[in-house]
């Protein structure tokens, strides 16, 4: 049982029966899920969803569909309650390599994101500088991306996308290749960004089960699962969803060292192996 008093509000992101074929080969088959606004009285609480799945199960394809970068063969993704498919730019995307425009400075990169929403360039610059201060990058505004460290680059890429999309952020393998300290910092960063606004929604696509469990309030497990007839369908789908709030496994500092958390990670890993 959850010790936190919470309720669900409006649907923020809806994946409705999405299928994707590449040259007639199904990659995703009937993926259906939704992210709802989590309301916790007395505090700002965003949403963090972890999408887990073995390599080659179509996580990146689903990532591109949610981002509006790839049109599904059938079904649709919609955000913010709009009755139309998501468009590129409505969901921020932070790719694994944290791409930035190398020919622009940090400020130039962030202004590109900010001016999409804020037409007054002075106001956009003020917003950018406020984010840079919040993310401890205010003295780096004049540097080129090549002059940033990996962590600084990651933060810069996140700010750029948040400035443009406002509430939605998709992160592709943000824990890949990080040492323990950087991994903890990335988890803190994700929590920080999600809790900046009630509507902030972060979807983390990863195959790092422990890191995903430590940062998410909901987990979606993707893969191939045999149907009732014993036949495994060719495309992947979301085969299991976990609510970590109900299990009392999120929003608690130091949760990852507790036995219930580790038992849960073991349970997810068992499920993961089955896929």
């Amino acid at each position: 049982m959850a010790s936190e008093n919470y309720s669900f509000g409006n649907t923020l992101l809806k994946i409705d029966n999405v299928s994707v074929d590449y040259d007639g080969r199904p990659v995703l088959s009937g993926v259906t899920a939704e992210v709802k606004d989590i309301i916790v009285p007395g505090r700002i609480q965003g949403q963090v969803v972890g999408i887990l799945g073995p390599s080659g199960c179509g996580k990146t394809t689903l990532f591109r569909v949610i981002a509006g970068l790839h049109a599904p063969t059938s079904g649709r993704v919609s955000v913010d309650g709009f009755d139309r498919p998501v468009r590129a730019g409505e969901v921020g995307v932070v790719a694994q390599s944290y791409p930035l425009f190398e020919h622009r400075t940090v400020l130039g990169n962030l202004m590109l994101g900010a001016t999409r929403k804020e037409k007054d360039s002075r106001a956009a610059r003020e917003k950018v500088m406020a984010y840079l201060k919040e993310f401890e990058l205010e003295d780096k505004y004049n540097l080129y991306p090549a002059q940033l460290s990996g962590g600084q680059r990651q933060r810069c890429a996140i700010i750029q996308q948040i400035l443009c999309s406002e509430h939605f952020l998709l992160m592709d393998e943000p824990f890949s290749g990080l040492d323990l300290i950087m991994l903890e910092r990335t988890c803190e960063l994700i929590s920080k960004v999600s809790n900046m606004d009630d509507l902030n929604t972060i979807i983390v696509v990863t195959h790092d089960v422990t890191a995903a469990c430590s940062v998410a309030d909901h987990l979606w497990l993707m893969g191939h699962e045999p149907g009732p007839d014993g036949v495994t369908p060719p495309g992947s789908r979301i085969v299991k969803q976990y609510n970590l709030i109900d299990r009392d496994l999120c929003w608690k500092p130091g949760i990852i060292t507790t036995a219930p958390f580790n038992n849960f990670v073991r349970e997810v890993k068992e499920e993961f192996r089955r896929l």
């Binding site: 930035l100 425009f101 190398e102 002059q147 996308q161 999309s165």
Partner: protein, 261 residues
Amino acid sequence: MNHALAVFSPNAVLNRSAVRALIAVQILIVILLWFFSPFVLLPKPGEVLSAFSELWEQGLGAELITSFYLNIQAIALSTIVTLLLAYATVMPFFRPIVALLSKLRFLSLVGLTFFFTLMAKSGHELKLSLLVFSVSVFFVTGMADVINGIPKEMFDLARTLRMGEWRVVWEVIVLGQIDKVFDVLRQNAAMGWMMLTMVEGIVRSEGGVGTVLLDQNHHFRLAAVFAIQLTILLLGLFQDYAIGLSKNMLCPYAALTLERK
């Protein structure tokens, strides 16, 4: 001792002063080899120098200006034509056209002279069109490769920042690859000098350093040939340096990730 070993170590990176010293030593070795070469057909530095002053008195300076002007004109024109064509490949209609133009680099200039003569109104125009054509077919190949090599994630990045497709082209292809334009331009501008002497040999009406070179070659005046070649080399190096300097000034980010700067 360590420095001496470093110059033969794989992937060793030398500091600026060590690089300068290395270049100075290598130039010195070349000069010494030249001075003391037992190869009798190789003109000695003194002979080359006197051949140069003789050529200068005969008007080599004016010929150089003619050639330099022609080369600059050809580079400017081929840069404009090539960039327009390369950027046009964002539209599928232009891709087969550019692919075809790229294949034309296998054609011989001599074989094209007749065709271009029919179209040109003067000797200068004929030389210019031959040069622009011959440089552009290589330039457009290089630029098309640069554009084809842009990773998909850069286009995705621009799209996730709510850019329309023309803005994506401007940000990712035009602004994002401007440093690579300088690199391709540098190679093709050098090729321009190589083609220039050939073109001036085909169309001699306007003179130029290529014409002088062919004349001296014809009469087997090796010292003069050497003098002209060295002059072309120095002019080419100056041009190359100017393009490199422009790149460093306009695209200071380009060298930040390089090991050897």
